[in-house]
Symmetry: C2
Subunit: 228 residues, 2 copies
Amino acid sequence: MDPGRAICLLSGGLDSSTCLAIARREGYECYCLSFDYGQRHAVELRAAARIANQLGAREHRTMKLDLRALGGSALTSGIEVPKHRTQADMSAGIPATYVPARNTIFLSCALAYAEVVHAAAIFIGVNAIDYSGYPDCRPEFIHSFEKMANLATKAGVEGALKTTIQTPLIAMTKAEIIRRATALGVDLSLTHSCYDPNPDGQPCGSCDSCLLRAKGFEEMGIRDPLLA
Amino acid sequence: MDPGRAICLLSGGLDSSTCLAIARREGYECYCLSFDYGQRHAVELRAAARIANQLGAREHRTMKLDLRALGGSALTSGIEVPKHRTQADMSAGIPATYVPARNTIFLSCALAYAEVVHAAAIFIGVNAIDYSGYPDCRPEFIHSFEKMANLATKAGVEGALKTTIQTPLIAMTKAEIIRRATALGVDLSLTHSCYDPNPDGQPCGSCDSCLLRAKGFEEMGIRDPLLA
């Protein structure tokens, strides 16, 4: 059965790229959505475009969204990105790279896009295992968003389309995500994970995102093609 | 008791301006948020700034948010704004001026702003009586959003701040809103309601928003100062 259309939130990182590959494998026609939100690492937008293309997305839109107007995060303001944190540090609290309500905002925009193109599914690569402790990556948040979404839209109210939020990575470790990505043929050399890349786009190697990615490749016993 | 800080979503229209006046009267320190979202009626952004100033808001931010990237509405694309609709027309279905998931997106951004400035309340001037039939103006949507919001944020998870969504206008008729606005000293000549103003910023007089506003003033038996 043709599952129809899906919106895939795509940052160009390892997780969202794998998530898109899973949606494609499940047969969805994929409409990818990226955000130009004033992040330090605009290099990720170029990665997103390459990945959308490699994985055969039907469409890829980038939406401007000036989160810097609100501030409050190391990713969108002058606050320094924390480096060299241990797993214990990451478990201890929510770090400065947390962008207030970011996934809520991203999912809300995906919901609008879903309504416009008549997509019933929204894929988001959140992960509650090897992650930085962000509140909006947890299953209880996702379930609650899904409920709200079905009260928010014309399609929901008219009963035409029930929106589901799909989080295929939520219970995977980083190593499992890399294994899955490899099995699905994702070109990981195209993905970008670093929160604070060098001016030439190279990963810093020491932010949470780089450390989690490195740990995943190490557990898998393979080399990160991005560093090759 | 000092109720603390509130985020007030402010379009510069009659409803959101009255909502801000109510929050101010209740003693909140108000942080207003407007959106430059590619709407036809950018004149409303100037109205919002004037109203925030008149009503003594602590801060007024305007966030750029390119909803045109997603399309799907007469307010953000080339679709024509429906004119001269009757009350029966408005009750019959969701019109072309509906912007997909707009209130969900606006509330999500307000939630981010609330987290940044440590505001517990978010005021939104939605109304489920004299309105255009938008799904995201209904009480069940608002309650569901509030639940989700308290699972979405760092403040919510750490138990520091419970977010409430305040909708003081939800059960008022347009005439009651105008009465309340007048009692609270809102300068209604500063507000702007039209979906499709003339190039010089004058209201068209025949879109849903103009018609609902006119009906309210007529029921009150007073003249709209905007038309004076």
